[in-house]
Symmetry: C2
Subunit: 384 residues, 2 copies
C-alpha cells in the first residue's frame, strides 16, 4: 500500500471561543489545500471525524458542511468512533483511494468542546463507553482509567513518578509546539501536587478539553507523481475494536484492539516495531500512553513506565513519542486528535518541526484510540 | 463494478418500546447473517449508519457496539450523513470491498427515536440543516419542506390531490408489508382532512417517527462465487452533496445532490433511467418523492405529480416506487432508512416480496437523502 500525503494543516488547539466549529474546519481545510498547492475543485471526496457536534451544537451532517466550505458537491460524510474518530476518518479516506473511486480525498478532524460546562462534556464523552452499564452507573472516563491504572500499578509496580514522567515529557514537547494548547513546562512536583481527579489519576494525568481542527489531503501515488508531490506516504492502516464495556473484557492492562490494529499495520507495511523511528500515541490519560507503547511493541509489557522515566521516549530518546505534546499538552479536541497525530508525523518526516524536530525520522506511526481501548486505529507513514 | 449482496434483513419498523437500539441492531445483524448463511466470524468490517443515538441515548461508538454484538474485533465505524446515513454507510461498505482490504462487510442502519418527545426529535433532526441560520431561526424540517412544496406548486401547478396521491400509494403498499409501521389504507379524504403541519403540508404528507434497524452483508463478486451466493449485485454507487442551508442554493424545486449522485450511478452502471424497473426513493415528505422521481429522470421536471396520481408509480405501474411503503408508511428510523430501501430492492429482485412483489424486476435503484436535498446517495442493484 502506498497512499501519498499531499498536504496537512492544523489550527491552533485550545479554548478558541472566537471561532465556530465551521470556522475551525474551514481554516484547516484551506490551510491543507495551500500546503498541498491544490485548488478546492481537485478534492473528490471528504471524510470528517467528529464526535460531539450533534450533542453540543445541534449540528450534524458535517460532511456536507465541509463540502459546502469549499463550494463543492462531492461525496462527504462524517465518521464517528468516539475519540478515534479522526483516526477512523483517515482509514476511511485510505479505503476510498484504494477503491479506485477517488484519486484525491480530504480527511478532516474537528471538535469544539469548550463552549459547554465540564459536566456536560464528561457525560457526553461517556457515549464512548456502554451507556446501559457504565454511564448509567455513574462511571466517567477518568474513573474507568483510574481503575485500569490502579490495576496496572499493582500488576507491574508502576510508580506515581513513572506515571507522571509521561505528562512531564509531553508538556515539555508542547512548549516547542506553537499550536499546542499548553506551553508551560511542568515538574514532578506540579503533577504530584495537582488535585486528584480519580485516584490514582491527578489533574495533570488527564488530557484537557479543547477546540481544534486538522486536515490532510491524500491521493493515489500515481496522482502524487503526476503533480510532483511525492515524499510522504501512508504505507499501512490497521484498525481493531473491542467490547465497549470493561466488564466484558478478560484483560484490562493491555488493549486487544490496539494489538490487532498494530499487527495489521506492521504486516501491511512489512516492517517490525523496531523499524518505527517516531510515533504519536493516544495519551488521553498518562497510562494510555504507557499501555500504547507496550501494545505497539515498542517496549515489553510492564516496562514502558521505566522507559518513560529514563527518557527513552523523549525527543532525543530511543523512540520519540508525542513530540507534538500529545493529547495531554497539545490538546484533545476528540474528533481532531487522530488527524493531529498524522499532521505531526508528516511534518516530522518532512523535517520541518523546528525546535521539536526529531533526528531524521524515516518511518512514523500514529495510534488513535476511542473509549477505554475500545477502538484503535494505527497508521504508518514513510518518507521516500 | 459488481459487489454481491449475500444477505439482507430488517426488523419491524414502528414504536418498539420494548427493544433498545442495541437489541434492534443485534436482531438485524443476526437475521442478515442467517439470510446469508454466514457465521459472524466471516464478517471482516462493519459500517453503521445512525444519526441520533448520541443525542437521545448518550450512546456513541456504535461501530464497536455492532462488532461486540457479534463477538468480533473487526474494524467498525459509524457513518453519519443525517437521514442519508444508511445510504452513506452502504457506499462506505462498497468502497471497503473495492479497496481490496475486506472481502465481506456488514452494513447496518439503526435508529431509536420514539422514546423521546416530538419537540426533541424535531429539534435534533434540524441538525441535518445549518444550525446557525435555519435551526437558530426556528425553522423545522416540515417548515422547510413546506416552503419548497409551496414553490413547486406555484411553478408547476401541482395540486394538493396530486401531492396526496404519493402518500395514498405508499400507505397502500405498506398494507402489504408485514414489517411496516402502518398497515392502514388511507383515502384522499384522510389526507385532506388531516391536520396542517406546515401549510401546505398536512400530517399525512409527513413521514413518522420510528424505531428500526436493517442490515446487509456484501462481498466481492469472487467471494460470492466461492460460497455459491451470487444472484444480486450492487452495480453502481453515486453520492453528491449540496449546501446545508436553502438560502445558499439557486434552485429549490430540484436537488443538485441527487442529480449528481444519479448521474454518477447511471454512468457507473452503464444504464439509463428507463432501464430501472423498480425504485425506493426518499419520501420523508410527499414532495420529496415527487422531486426525487424527476431528479432521477424517471419523469420530466414538473410531471411527477401527474404521473403519481395516474398510477404510474403504483405496484403495477410504469415504475413501481416505494413498494415497501416508503419512509412515509413503512416508517423512517432515519439511520436505517437507506438500508431499508436496499433490503426491499434486494427482496424485489429476488422475487420474494409476496403480495407486494413487482413483476420480475431485473434492475432496481435506491435513493437516500439527508437534509432538504443536502446529501443524496444512489445505489443500483441488478439481478444476475
Amino acid at each position: 500500500m502506498k497512499i501519498s500525503v499531499l498536504g496537512v494543516a492544523s489550527t491552533k488547539f485550545g479554548e478558541l471561543w472566537g471561532k465556530s466549529l465551521q470556522d475551525l474546519m474551514a481554516e484547516a481545510q484551506l490551510a491543507a489545500l495551500k500546503d498541498a498547492s491544490l485548488q478546492p475543485s481537485e478534492v473528490q471526496a471528504i471524510f470528517v471525524g467528529n464526535m460531539l457536534a450533534e450533542k453540543f451544537e445541534g449540528q450534524a451532517h458535517l460532511g456536507a458542511m465541509a463540502s459546502q466550505n469549499l463550494n463543492l458537491n462531492v461525496p462527504s460524510l462524517r465518521i464517528e468512533c468516539a475519540c478515534a474518530s479522526g483516526g477512523a476518518a483517515i482509514a476511511a479516506g485510505v479505503r476510498a483511494i484504494l477503491s479506485g473511486m477517488h484519486e484525491v480525498v480530504m480527511v478532516i478532524g474537528a471538535e469544539k468542546m469548550t463552549d459547554v460546562p465540564t459536566p456536560m462534556i464528561t457525560s457526553a464523552l461517556m457515549g464512548a463507553a456502554l451507556y446501559q452499564t457504565e454511564h448509567f452507573a455513574g462511571a466517567t472516563f477518568p474513573s474507568l482509567f483510574a481503575l485500569v491504572t490502579r490495576l496496572y500499578m499493582q500488576k507491574y509496580g508502576l510508580t506515581q513518578e513513572q506515571l507522571a514522567s509521561v505528562s512531564i515529557k509531553n508538556h515539555f514537547n508542547a512548549t516547542l509546539n506553537p499550536l499546542a494548547q499548553f506551553s508551560k513546562k511542568i515538574t514532578l512536583d506540579d503533577v504530584l501536587q495537582s488535585p486528584i481527579v480519580a485516584d490514582p489519576l491527578r489533574l495533570i494525568d488527564c488530557s484537557p478539553v479543547s477546540d481544534g481542527s486538522c486536515a490532510m489531503i491524500i491521493s493515489s501515488y500515481d496522482y502524487a507523481k503526476k503533480i510532483e508531490n511525492t515524499g510522504i506516504n501512508i504505507i499501512a492502516t490497521g484498525m481493531g475494536t473491542d467490547a465497549l464495556d470493561l466488564a466484558s473484557r478478560d484483560e484490562w492492562t493491555s488493549f486487544k484492539a490496539t494489538k490487532i490494529a498494530a499487527e495489521q499495520a506492521y504486516r501491511m507495511a512489512g516492517i517490525e516495531p523496531k523499524d518505527i523511528d517516531i510515533a504519536e500515541v493516544h495519551d488521553a490519560f498518562s497510562l494510555s500512553e504507557i499501555i500504547a507503547l507496550e501494545d505497539l511493541e515498542f517496549f515489553a509489557p510492564g516496562t514502558a513506565g521505566v522507559a518513560s522515566i529514563l527518557g527513552k521516549t523523549a525527543l532525543t530518546g530511543y523512540i520519540p513519542i508525542n513530540s507534538s505534546g500529545g493529547l495531554k499538552a497539545k490538546g484533545h479536541p476528540v474528533g481532531a486528535s487522530g488527524l493531529s497525530q498524522a499532521v505531526e508525523i508528516v511534518n516530522q518526516l518532512r523535517g520541518v518541526c523546528g525546535a521539536r524536530q526529531a533526528k531524521s525520522p524515516k518511518i512514523g506511526l500514529t495510534h488513535s484510540m476511542g473509549g477505554v481501548g475500545t477502538t484503535s486505529v494505527v497508521h504508518i507513514f514513510e518518507k521516500e
